[in-house]
């Protein structure tokens, strides 16, 4: 089964969402009318569900660059799995993957593999529940929930078994069931399909169709959630653009820090949506420098105390800039603390070890490393000192571990650096 998180959303051209919704709702009403007039058979209902699942599997929601991904095929396939076993879901998954134009061969194969395994295990789980709960009235609901949960768990485990970088590069997805949007959509969708399965299995198919109406808003809801994430992404890009314009050196610096921070975040075992926030924080960690005099920042000499004090305001100003923006609440705290030190001698608040967020520590280490080494181009080196080699920079990071930098973060960064 392809899983709520198995695929991902490209919103290049905005679809007329409202009219799509109206047409879908009308389609549902027409379907219910036909069933009502012609009589409902379980087979015809399964055929309809299969068609809907096929369409969903072919048109997954994918967030570009954002680890939130969703597809409704799992929700639609769960009742089929419960009532008819794994074969129909397997056929649907294979057909949908084979007909996906945008996906590469590797992605298709991986999705088919995961889908087949999920469907098989989901069937086993559902049949076990039906066997054990056979006299109980709620067995259909429990079986549907089991099928969905087992399929989801198999999906996650299978994705985790892939090498992370390969998963990110080839599958371009990362299943993240714990963002509030996907969790809400999964819970509501699962309850709706469970009730619908129960009604179908106990002989109330028209009522089952009514219950399935509850699935209608889920896709638009997920789309809207993903669009919100896109707005956040664009806002971050614009702010980062402002910084690059006022201080061109930062362009490469910010990108490098963001890339390394993402890798180190994964290395430290942070969940994907958390790593995504960390990436944003790394992109915007120096955004407060738009409020700082460029002549001081780019001065090819050692700064005076007064000038250094002027530069030090950038972390607090960056946090102030992001303070009221929805979606940036956590990030602004991390940005505020990215120049704090473990020994409490940092700025602006003078926080010590436990009070400094882990994400700020990650940004601090990578920021310092990049400041010491600079980029590959000449204009990316700092004006006021000669760049160090990576080995020298790591030696410096080691020397300051425990006082300025978090040793765990330094170790994780070194591991990531070696692998790269």
């Amino acid at each position: 089964m392809a899983g709520v998180g198995s695929t991902s959303l490209s919103l290049g051209r905005r679809a007329p969402i409202l009219s799509t919704r109206i047409w879908t709702a009308l389609g549902f009403v027409a379907l219910a009318g036909c069933f009502f007039l012609a009589g409902v058979h379980l087979e015809s209902w399964m055929a309809v569900l299969s068609c809907l699942a096929f369409v969903q599997a072919r048109r997954p929601l994918r967030a570009v660059g954002i680890p939130v991904a969703a597809s409704l095929d799992t929700l639609l396939l769960a009742p089929i799995t419960v009532m008819s076993g794994p074969w129909i879901p397997i056929v649907i998954i294979v057909a949908a993957q084979c007909l996906r134009r945008s996906a590469s061969e590797d992605v298709r194969k991986a999705n088919i593999l995961i889908g087949v395994a999920s469907a098989a295990f989901a069937t086993v789980g559902a049949q076990l529940v039906l066997l054990l709960w056979s006299p109980h009235e709620s067995r259909w609901i429990l079986a549907t929930i089991t099928a969905f949960s087992v399929g989801g768990v198999i999906n996650i485990l299978a994705l985790q078994s892939f090498d992370r970088s390969w998963r990110k590069r080839v599958l371009s997805l990362s299943y993240d069931p714990w963002t509030s949007q996907t969790a809400l959509a999964s819970v509501v969708g699962l309850l709706v399909t469970s009730v619908a399965t129960h009604l179908f299995a106990t002989g109330y198919p028209v009522a089952g169709i009514g219950a399935m109406l509850g699935l209608l808003p889920i896709r638009p809801y997920l789309k809207a959630a993903l669009r919100r994430n896109r707005s956040r992404n664009h806002a971050a890009r614009l702010m980062s653009g402002m910084l690059e314009w006022s201080h061109p050196y930062t362009e490469g610096h910010v990108k490098r820090v963001a890339n390394w921070a993402t890798e180190v975040g994964y290395e430290l075992g942070l969940p994907p949506h958390h790593v995504d926030d960390l990436k944003f924080a790394a992109i915007l960690h120096d955004v407060g420098k738009v409020t700082v005099n460029e002549a001081v920042l780019d001065a090819p000499r050692k700064l005076t105390d007064e000038e250094f004090e002027h530069i030090k305001i950038h972390s607090a100003n960056g946090a102030t800039l992001l303070a009221d923006l929805p979606g940036f609440e956590r990030i602004q705290e991390w940005i505020l603390a990215h120049h704090e030190r473990l020994d409490g001698n940092g700025y602006p608040l003078g926080l010590s070890d436990d009070a400094i967020p882990l994400e700020s520590k990650v940004i601090a280490v990578i920021d310092a490393f990049d400041a010491m080494t600079g980029g590959d181009k000449d204009d990316e080196k700092r004006n006021y000192r000669t760049p160090k080699s990576p080995e020298e920079a790591f030696a410096e990071l080691d020397r300051c571990s425990g006082t300025q930098f978090d040793p765990t973060v330094v170790q994780a960064f070194r591991a990531v650096w070696r692998r790269s």
Binding site: H198, L238, A295
Partner: protein, 216 residues
């Protein structure tokens, strides 16, 4: 399970789920996006206040004048205000020292040109944020003269309002009130005659003595 009971369960559930998520996505979402845009622009304003407080206060004057013009011409001032906020993005392209230097009337032509380049920077940067596409379009149309594009549609009208408010304020700062008034009147066809008349009414050009005369 009886039919009535199951029917009630599914109907209730479907209604609750449809209403909750439907309202959330269908009705609340567009407003949320506009709110996000507004809050983002306010953040930008905060940034400019920290970078160049003098210029920010100047822009607030432009905001006030543009609002008065909108009120006079019965056009919605939200878009004008948001576009003017987005314009502030361009100040990252103007040097910190210039923005915090002497007032406009002491600037050289070169410095004034550098200051005015902020619009170009704002237009280029605003392309990175599609959720501000309408405001970005207003900025793109600011420099186009009225006699070439006489559309009264919201975006174009907002662009003309902003241009007149900004230019008038800048002229007042650099040349004085009387010269600013004369220049604006002389370029009625460039700015939009209706707006120039509205500006004359708003600032009581026809009734009162000018502020400069009053000061004398």
């Amino acid at each position: 399970m009886s039919f009535h009971w199951s029917f009630l369960v599914c109907a209730g559930f479907a209604t609750a789920a449809s209403m909750g998520l439907g309202i959330w996505t269908g009705f609340v979402e567009p407003r949320r996006r506009v709110r996000f845009g507004q809050r983002f622009l306010r953040s930008i304003q905060k940034g400019l206040k920290l970078r160049a407080p003098v210029v920010e206060s100047y822009f607030q004057e432009v905001d006030a004048l543009a609002s008065m013009l909108c009120q006079k011409c019965h056009c919605p001032k939200g878009l004008v205000r948001r576009a003017n906020l987005l314009r502030r993005v361009g100040f990252c392209g103007v040097s910190y020292e210039l923005l915090n230097q002497a007032p406009f009337d002491f600037w050289s032509t070169r410095e004034l040109a550098q200051f005015e380049s902020h619009l170009e920077v704002a237009i280029r940067l605003s392309k990175k944020a599609p959720f501000l596409a309408r405001e970005a379009k207003v900025l793109e149309w600011i420099d186009r003269p009225y006699f070439l594009h006489q559309s009264s549609e919201g975006v174009y009208f907002a662009a003309r309002v902003l241009r007149l408010a900004f230019d008038y304020n800048l002229l007042c700062s650099t040349q004085g009130l009387d010269a600013a008034r004369e220049t604006v009147q002389a370029h009625r066809d460039t700015y939009d005659p209706i707006l120039v008349d509205a500006l004359a009414e708003v600032l009581h050009w026809n009734r009162d003595v000018s502020r400069s005369e009053a000061l004398v």
